[in-house]
């Protein structure tokens, strides 16, 4: 029986539910699967786990799955449907570990073929779409957390901070999600997050906040 329950539990996590659009207000778009373009969302549309929902200013969307679970994405936000699920803490830890795998530097000593490509230049020009979508995703992740999908929110935020580097420079946003990690009792992970944020802390007040957070977690670890 335990095994069966485990299988059911895992299945629910791995295969997020499809959602039906209950209500749409303003400009709401969906980026289907791996398509490049977005399309407008209408009431009654079916959204799958690979879809990304994007709302503009003064817009919102109300979704509901077949079990009656509903979610409202407020204005100027974006969220992947696959994040609208309750993850277990273990899955979150697994996902965070996977993130570490992706950051392991490759042991490459190959010299780039400069004869063909020349010295690689770095892009200075900002991308409006990318920056806006990144911020919308952070906004969406916050709403995930507020709706009780804390683990999904953390994962979505981490992904966004990395794929949309401009969002990772917002101290307040970074601290918000690092606090969520701390509140879940993931002490070492939260200290790691606070240490990463310290690289973008500019003011003394920000540095003091981080210092206090780290000290607090350390005290907790020592007491335990």
């Amino acid at each position: 029986m335990k095994i069966l329950m485990f299988v059911l539990f895992v299945s629910q996590i791995l295969f997020a539910q499809d959602f039906i659009v209950q209500k749409v207000s303003g400009n709401v778009f969906v980026q289907k699967g791996f398509e490049e373009k977005t399309q407008k969302v209408n009431t009654g549309d079916k959204l799958k786990s690979n879809d990304l929902i994007i709302t503009d200013e003064s817009a919102f969307i109300h979704l509901k799955d077949k079990n009656g679970n509903s979610f409202v994405l407020k204005s100027n936000s974006a969220v992947g449907v696959n994040y609208l699920r309750k993850m277990s803490l273990n899955d979150l830890i697994l996902a965070l570990t996977q993130e570490e795998i992706r950051t392991v530097p490759r042991n490459s000593n190959k010299t780039p073929n400069t004869a063909v490509y020349g010295t690689e230049a770095r892009m200075k020009k900002p991308f409006d779409f990318q920056n806006k979508l990144g911020q919308k995703k952070i906004n969406g992740a916050k709403q995930l957390a507020e709706s009780g999908f804390v683990e999904s929110a953390i994962l979505a935020a981490k992904e966004t901070f990395r794929k949309y580097p401009a969002t990772g420079k917002n101290f307040g946003d970074r601290l918000y999600f690092a606090d969520l990690v701390k509140n879940l009792g993931l002490d070492e992970e939260s200290i790691s997050e606070y240490n990463k944020i310290s690289k973008i802390a500019e003011t003394d007040a920000q540095k003091e906040i981080l210092s206090n957070r780290i000290e607090g977690v350390n005290l907790k670890i020592i007491r335990n």
């Binding site: 791995l14 699967g33 490049e36 992706r102 530097p105 892009m123 991308f127 779409f129 990318q130 979508l133």
Partner: protein
């Protein structure tokens, strides 16, 4: 532990233990100094011959000078008429020869015995008195003899690299051939006993030995040795306590010797600390226990020589087993440099730490013998030896075959110590061991062909490639892929029994292949064009895996919008500078378009690697090609 040659003494080595040597001849020449110092007699003390056969050891010795005589005179002459006569009793003791055998149960333990032949003879003069016209007094001699065999057992145990223990009997079995001496009082006193022995190597240069005859005596010796002229010089001193003699320490025996692998020479002086005054009353009262060393023995100078008659090198290490752990895949060259294809176990047969050089030769892939890393093996211990190999590119690898691999163990000797052979499967150049990480070896093949393809294509599409300075790599991938898949077909592995991977040139010339072939071929083209690639290995529970590619666009995460507005289509990987770079998945078995191949691969990668935590669970493996 101080000398490779046998100890030519059953007295201290009844177990007949031997460390090494095949055939060996020994001789001891000695000078006997009488107590007055006026008489020196020289004689051959001992000649011996020995032979070691595998674990068996045989020994024979002839001991012409192992003898002692006593003459007891009755006193004044008796004179009758004109006849006079005197009486004396002569007692001769001699050890004629000895035989020994021992068996080694391993390098740590041996068991053996020795048997020696003794003769005792007693000649007693008696008067013959004839009464007649003239009384005549004559003497005649009455002779009695005792001939017997003495057999003892002994064992030797090497407790550690530095300590050897010996245990042996004394006078355990005595077998009389005939009767006894007419006066049993003068027979050798052969008390049964036990002898404990300890040899200890205190350091590389200092050794100690101790023999304790529980009933009556002990011997303690200390030796210092050093190496010179390819041999060892050993200097030391023995002291002996014997209950039958005085003072408490009654013998001092300084010794110096030189030994090499072929011979040894030693000079010893046996010095009795109490003067030898031949008190025959003592002899008549106590007798003797030992023919050579007793209270009546004189000081001796002994010159010992040992010669190895056979120049056969004593094996220092031997194979216990060798297992071929990996078949040979000729294309996976570096794998066999980095990982052993065979692992063996070798035993150090000596009591020293030795360096063992494992060497192998596989005629089908090697041009010469291949040396693998040297292994240090502790004394009398077993060590693991790994055999690596180099794959010659001058051989023909068109057909699979089984070859006889030769495995050799070398030490410092010019000839090998041990040798064994094992069959090894040599696959064809296109065979693959199924590890996706090893597909990279196929990428490196026919690089010239890939270079030609890449150069030609990029030249033809240079304007498209150079249209955006940031997208040179990405655009190159696009045009190379579009050109690569033209007229390309998918067909599954033609050889079902074994993994078969085509070289890039073969795939492009045949216009097709399976996922391994196509990924290898396109990776080869990209790598030659300076674009980093990685294999993505999607494992499934049914054992059927799929391989496609991840390709480094060289773009950083801020530049993603240049190639896509869907962040699920790329994967960030950190480079050596700690910067994220955008890698895109690409399906090489989908020939419709670059975009559709990218989408298809991205969807699979996102689902299996990211959403299902495939990277963390080991279901999806990324192997860089470099």
């Amino acid at each position: 532990m101080t000398d490779g040659f046998r100890k030519n003494s059953f007295e201290s080595n009844p177990g007949n233990f031997v460390a090494k040597s095949d055939w060996e001849f020994s001789a001891i020449y000695g000078a006997d100094f009488s107590s007055s110092g006026s008489n020196i007699s020289n004689d051959i003390f001992l000649i011996s011959l020995s032979k070691k056969m595998d674990r068996h050891y045989f020994y024979f010795r002839y001991t012409p000078a192992f003898k002692k005589s006593f003459i007891i005179s009755a006193g004044n002459n008796i004179t009758i008429d004109s006849s006079s006569a005197s009486l004396k009793t002569t007692i001769n003791y001699s050890e004629k020869f000895g035989l020994g055998y021992s068996y080694s149960f391993g390098s740590n333990f041996s068991l053996g015995f020795s048997t020696r032949y003794f003769e005792e003879e007693m000649k007693e003069d008696v008067f013959n008195f004839f009464i007649g016209d003239t009384s005549i007094l004559t003497t005649s001699t009455s002779v009695s003899q005792k001939k017997f065999w003495r057999t003892d057992f002994g064992m030797n145990y090497l407790l550690s690299e530095r300590i050897r223990l010996n245990l042996s009997s004394k006078n355990l079995f005595l077998l009389n051939e005939n009767g006894n001496l007419s006066n049993k009082h003068f027979e050798l006193k052969l008390k049964k006993g036990i002898i404990f022995g300890l040899e200890s190597k205190l350091s590389e240069n200092l050794a100690l030995n101790f023999n304790w005859d529980v009933a009556s005596s002990f011997l303690l010796g200390s030796f210092y040795l050093f190496e010179i002229f390819g041999g060892k010089v050993i200097g030391g001193i023995n002291i002996t306590h014997d209950q039958t003699q005085n003072p408490f320490i009654n013998v001092i025996m300084p010794t110096v010797s030189f030994s090499s692998n072929l011979y040894s020479v030693s000079l010893s002086y046996i010095n009795y600390l109490q003067s030898r005054n031949n008190r025959l009353s003592d002899f008549a009262e106590k007798g003797i226990q030992n023919i050579v060393s007793n209270q009546f023995a004189d000081d001796k100078l002994l010159l010992s020589m040992n010669f190895a008659l056979s120049f056969k090198h004593e094996k220092a290490v031997e194979f216990l087993d060798v297992e071929v752990t990996n078949d040979i895949f000729p294309t996976l060259t570096e794998e066999f440099v980095n990982h052993p294809f065979a692992i063996g176990h070798a035993k150090n047969l000596t009591d020293k730490t030795i360096s063992v050089k494992p060497i192998s030769f596989i005629p089908g892939i090697n041009n010469e013998h291949i040396y693998s890393p040297t292994v240090e093996i502790a004394p009398n211990s077993i060590g693991e030896v790994k055999f690596f190999t180099l794959i010659s590119d001058e051989k023909n690898y068109e057909k699979r075959k089984i070859d006889n691999a030769e495995f050799l163990l070398f030490t410092t000797e010019p000839d090998y110590e041990d040798k064994t052979e094992k069959p090894v499967l040599i696959n064809t150049k296109n065979n693959w061991d199924g590890k996706v990480s090893n597909l990279r070896y196929f990428v490196y093949r026919s690089f010239d062909y890939s270079l030609d393809f890449a150069t030609r294509t990029m030249k033809n599409y240079s304007s498209a490639i150079d249209s955006n300075v940031y997208l040179k790599k990405f655009n190159s991938v696009k045009v190379l892929f579009s050109e690569f898949v033209k007229n390309m077909n998918y067909f599954s592995d033609p050889r079902t029994s074994f993994e078969y991977v085509q070289f890039p040139k073969e795939t492009m010339e045949r216009k097709g292949g399976d996922c391994d072939d196509l990924s290898v071929a396109f990776a080869s083209i990209l790598e030659i064009a300076g674009i980093e690639t990685a294999f993505v290995d999607f494992k499934s529970d049914d054992g059927i895996s799929h391989v496609n590619l991840l390709i480094n666009t060289g773009l950083n995460s801020s530049q993603a919008e240049l190639i896509t507005q869907n962040d699920k289509k790329y994967f960030l990987r950190e480079n050596q500078n700690g910067e994220d770079e955008i890698w895109i998945p690409l399906e090489t078995t989908h020939f419709v378009s670059f975009e559709s191949s990218w989408n298809l691969a991205a969807e699979k990668f996102y689902r299996e690697a990211i959403e299902n935590f495939g990277l963390q669970k080991g279901k999806v493996l990324i192997t860089d090609i470099y």
